[in-house]
């Protein structure tokens, strides 16, 4: 009895958060409403400035420190919010092995026949999300294979080739070369982190690989010399970028300056998800501070999203959180975070100069 009452109270609370697009509780009605309700929310077009001088889309790449941190939920809802601003948005499902972004967007799953599994997979699918200026690019089969599977690369390449204002890439939780390069090339690389040791450790591991790749990949002189120094460092003496720069300065000061500039231009964004306490939310500043102290990397804190049952409920209903529960605290936080990302798009010329 007590359990039933709790369930009822929970349902009432979630209904209150649901806002204007209320849907009947029965699964059948919810499914019927999928195609109709997405257009109910008012457009926010014109509320946020947009630089029309931009060439090509603004690319946001999201990587999870580890599996299950909520990268897909965040990617889907950031894409929904940006499309509500009147931008043409494409979101890519680039998570290796288990593409499920469609579930968070209310798009039908792919159901390949047994016979089709015996044929070549074909090109990626590009589906429009009903009622929005938002398209989903995904592999033609739900299980796309490992990180380096051609299908995954094709999804990312197809997405980046689409004519759009904003591209959101859900890169999953792996640190393979394709993911690292895509993350580094994005206008905003976002690490989604859970506030617990394993998640934070995996985040550092990913960023470490990304930073090293940024410093030593390429065929220019600074990269070659830095790579040579690291390859000769059998005692792991060059454990931080500052030591690498110092060692490089002794042999080639110009190369050392170039490597230092690359470290400073590496500005990943850190987003904490599923925070359950104030101490959890404060962790984002701790991570940013630690990266600056240890590696000299100017990571940017993108915010902290609190744990919210609304995420779970919206996933159960297979609809975007921002549409199903627009009044929830989590939806508001995601919107705020997406606005910060958009601010980057507007001031992009400055970033471009810095990179050069």
């Amino acid at each position: 009895m007590g359990q039933d009452r709790r369930h009822d109270e929970d349902e009432k609370r979630m209904t209150a958060l649901r806002g204007p697009t209320t849907v009947d509780d029965s699964i059948e009605d919810a499914e019927d409403a999928l195609d109709e309700s997405a257009v109910d929310l008012p457009s926010l077009a014109g509320q946020i400035p947009w630089s029309d001088e931009r060439e090509g889309p603004f690319v946001v790449a999201l990587v999870g420190g580890k599996g299950g941190v909520g990268t897909s939920l965040v990617a889907a809802n950031v894409a929904v919010f940006l499309s509500r601003l009147g931008r043409e948005v494409v979101v890519a499902d680039g998570a290796a092995g288990g593409a499920n972004l469609h579930t968070y967007l209310g798009v039908e799953p792919l159901l390949p026949s047994p016979a089709s599994l015996l044929r070549a997979p074909g090109p990626p699918r590009l589906d429009r999300v009903p009622g929005m200026s938002l398209r989903l690019c995904r592999p033609p089969r739900p299980i796309g294979g490992g990180p380096d599977a051609p299908a995954r690369r094709e999804v990312l390449e197809t997405t980046l080739g689409v004519d759009a204002d904003v591209v959101v890439l859900d890169l999953g939780a792996q640190a393979d070369p394709l993911t690292l390069d895509t993350f580094l090339a994005a206008d905003a690389g976002v690490m989604v982190v859970m506030p617990e040791p394993a998640g934070v450790e995996r985040t550092y591991a990913f960023l470490r690989e990304a930073l090293v790749r940024r410093l030593v990949s390429g065929d220019d002189r600074p990269a070659r010399e830095a790579r040579a120094l690291l390859e000769a460092d059998e005692g792991d003496e060059l454990g931080t970028p500052s030591r690498l720069v110092a060692a490089l300065a002794a042999v080639d000061p110009d190369a050392a300056d170039a490597i230092r500039a690359r470290v400073l231009a590496f500005t990943p964004h850190v987003l904490l998800n599923k925070c359950r306490s104030r101490a959890d939310t404060e962790l984002v500043d701790g991570i940013v501070s630690a990266l600056r102290r240890r590696w000299g990397v100017s990571a940017e804190p993108l915010g902290a999203l609190e744990y919210d049952d609304a995420a779970w409920h919206s996933a159960r209903r297979r609809r975007p959180l921002l549409i199903e529960y627009p009044g929830s605290a989590l939806a508001e936080r995601i919107e705020r975070m997406a606005r910060r990302l958009l601010a980057l798009a507007v001031r992009q010329p400055v970033r471009d100069e810095r990179r050069g």
Binding site: A205, P241, G286
Partner: protein
């Protein structure tokens, strides 16, 4: 690069050189909590021995900056010509100090060169206040009389003044601040007030 954070205690504690004791204490407490060896922030980024080194550096920075003498000596070494933000802090401190006023005259009425028989009423109070370099705000802060009442007293807006018994008390407080003869101010001002009161009553309740 910012790996050289250790070169400045301020950078190490992530505070401005103009930070006060509370800022320093708060920053240290926050960083000790964040960079706890058992916490998630350092896990996977710092080797154990470097966590200990960082912890010692934070403690050293805190103990130096929280001690006024040690901090002064440290600042002299760090900013021989004074750090801009420290100078700004000095300016803020100077701005927060009470403004030095010119000493009011011992006999303000004599300074105004008014005839002995001039009744002390609103207009005279205004001139005396000005010669004493006091604002209405100054009087309000000292006496706790509201600005509205003070304006009414100086403007002789009798209808808006409080009851006579309160007015008498206010006038005595004002006389004390303006170095006036309190009995004379009360007598002159209340005489005018009573005149107005009589006129007001005769108009309101004729007969």
């Amino acid at each position: 690069m910012s790996m050289d954070l250790g070169t400045s205690y301020y950078a190490l504690l992530e505070i401005d050189p103009g930070a006060n004791e509370d800022d320093i204490r708060r920053a240290y407490k926050r960083l000790v909590k964040l960079f706890d060896a058992e916490g998630p922030v350092v896990y996977g980024l710092y080797p154990d021995e470097e966590v200990e080194t960082l912890s010692r550096a934070l403690r050293e920075a805190y103990e130096t900056l929280i001690d006024a003498d040690k901090r002064r000596r440290y600042d002299l070494g760090l900013f021989p010509e004074g750090h801009p933000s420290l100078r700004r802090a000095d300016q803020r401190e100077a701005a927060s100090q009470p403004r030095r006023r010119p000493e009011p005259p011992a006999d303000p009425l004599a300074a105004l060169d008014l005839p002995e028989t001039t009744p002390l009423r609103g207009a005279v109070l205004l001139r005396v206040r000005e010669v004493c370099h006091l604002s209405l705000q100054d009087i309000a802060e000292r006496t706790k009389i509201s600005m509205f009442t003070l304006r009414c007293i100086e403007g002789e807006h009798y209808a808006d003044l409080p009851a006579r018994v309160y007015l008498r008390g206010f006038l005595r407080q004002i006389a004390d601040m303006l170095r006036l003869d309190a009995d004379r101010l009360v007598r002159d001002y209340l005489a005018a007030y009573d005149d107005w009161q009589r006129t007001f009553e005769s108009k309101s309740w004729p007969g």
